[in-house]
């Protein structure tokens, strides 16, 4: 999902910075509140960032014959709500842009929007909907993390299509073209991320009832 350095027109790069900035600021405020009011949740917060760090470093082969990586942003979104992941995701993206030439500074706003904002919000929305629908805990976590992961890649495809519409088939054609590369490759990886998120939440919360896990991790009141 990383759009490479200099690959978006300057107007798009600036635009994505502008729409991402409020989310990152809100996330920073939310993290300050969590650290101050629920110090016992700091460990989970660190684990949420670490999970995104690990998963986004792993480029995994997919059935399409190309490689891609999960995002790991669903965990923090489920436990703390989506806003904290805007900050934690940007940290991951900065590491990769500065040290790995993977992604970039000009495309940081756009990449942050897809990975650190759209993905977590979709994961959070699915998590809430699954709760309303009364789905079992593990199924809800799985769906939230997997669909959040997939949403990030679908959104990257849309961002690229917006910047580079197909001369013949326009925005829709380009979206399908980029989506064919990103979204299809990502489906098995999104399933893997969904499963791993369930495993990590279980490992972090230990032997307790499924319905108590998230409140145990978020410090009790959420």
């Amino acid at each position: 999902m990383h759009i490479m350095e200099g690959f978006l027109p300057a107007s798009h790069a600036l635009g994505w910075y502008a729409v991402s900035a409020p989310f990152v600021l809100a996330g920073a405020a939310r993290i300050r509140t969590i650290v101050r009011e629920q110090p016992e949740a700091r460990l989970t917060l660190a684990a949420s960032g670490a999970f995104a760090f690990v998963l986004s470093a792993l480029k995994i082969p997919s059935v399409t014959g190309s490689c891609s990586h999960p995002t790991g942003t669903g965990l923090g979104a489920i436990v703390f709500g989506p806003s904290v992941m805007a900050v934690l995701g940007v940290i991951v993206l900065l590491f990769q842009a500065l040290l790995l030439a993977h992604g970039g500074l000009t495309t940081l706003g756009a990449n942050a929007f897809s990975m650190a904002i759209v993905g977590p919000w979709v994961a959070y929305g699915v998590w809430k909907l699954a709760g309303v629908a009364g789905l079992p805990f593990a199924v809800s976590v799985f769906l939230a993390a997997a669909l959040g992961d997939l949403a990030t890649y679908v959104f990257t495809s849309l961002q690229l299509a917006l910047a580079y519409p197909d001369p013949v088939s326009g925005f829709v054609g380009a979206a399908l073209k980029f989506g064919g590369i990103f979204a299809i490759t990502q489906i098995p990886l999104a399933i893997a991320e969904g499963l791993l998120t369930v495993v990590v939440i279980e490992a972090l919360s230990g032997k307790i009832r499924d319905e108590d896990r998230i409140s145990a991790l978020s410090g009790g009141n959420k």
Partner: protein
């Protein structure tokens, strides 16, 4: 670890291994998308990375470092969480059958 976690981890391994058995080039999807953009008429990147890993070896070292740092913190958090629960869990299982002193 619960049976649920075990079979989920098995499935994750299968998801990564099965494509390898099917074969393919396994280049990055990011690069494939970039190739399409580069094919656009009149395209040239207007900014290039400030620093790039000088070789594939250095890049893989830094990717490993990223994964290792994340795994370190994640493992610490899981270990701490288990350590914190242990005293309660073991309260009534001391050798002589006596309850351990309350903290």
């Amino acid at each position: 670890m619960s049976m649920r976690s075990v079979w989920m981890l098995v499935v994750v391994v299968l998801i990564a291994v099965i494509p390898l058995l099917m074969g393919g080039e396994f280049g990055g999807a990011d690069n494939e998308a970039a190739a399409i953009v580069q094919g656009t008429e009149g395209f040239s990147p207007w900014f290039s990375p400030i620093w790039e890993p000088p070789s594939g070896e250095v890049a893989s070292m830094l990717f490993s470092l990223q994964a290792a740092l994340g795994a370190l913190v994640l493992g610490y958090a899981i270990g701490r969480a288990h350590g914190r629960r242990r005293p309660d869990g073991d309260r009534d299982t001391t050798k002589d059958g006596a309850l351990p002193p309350r903290a």
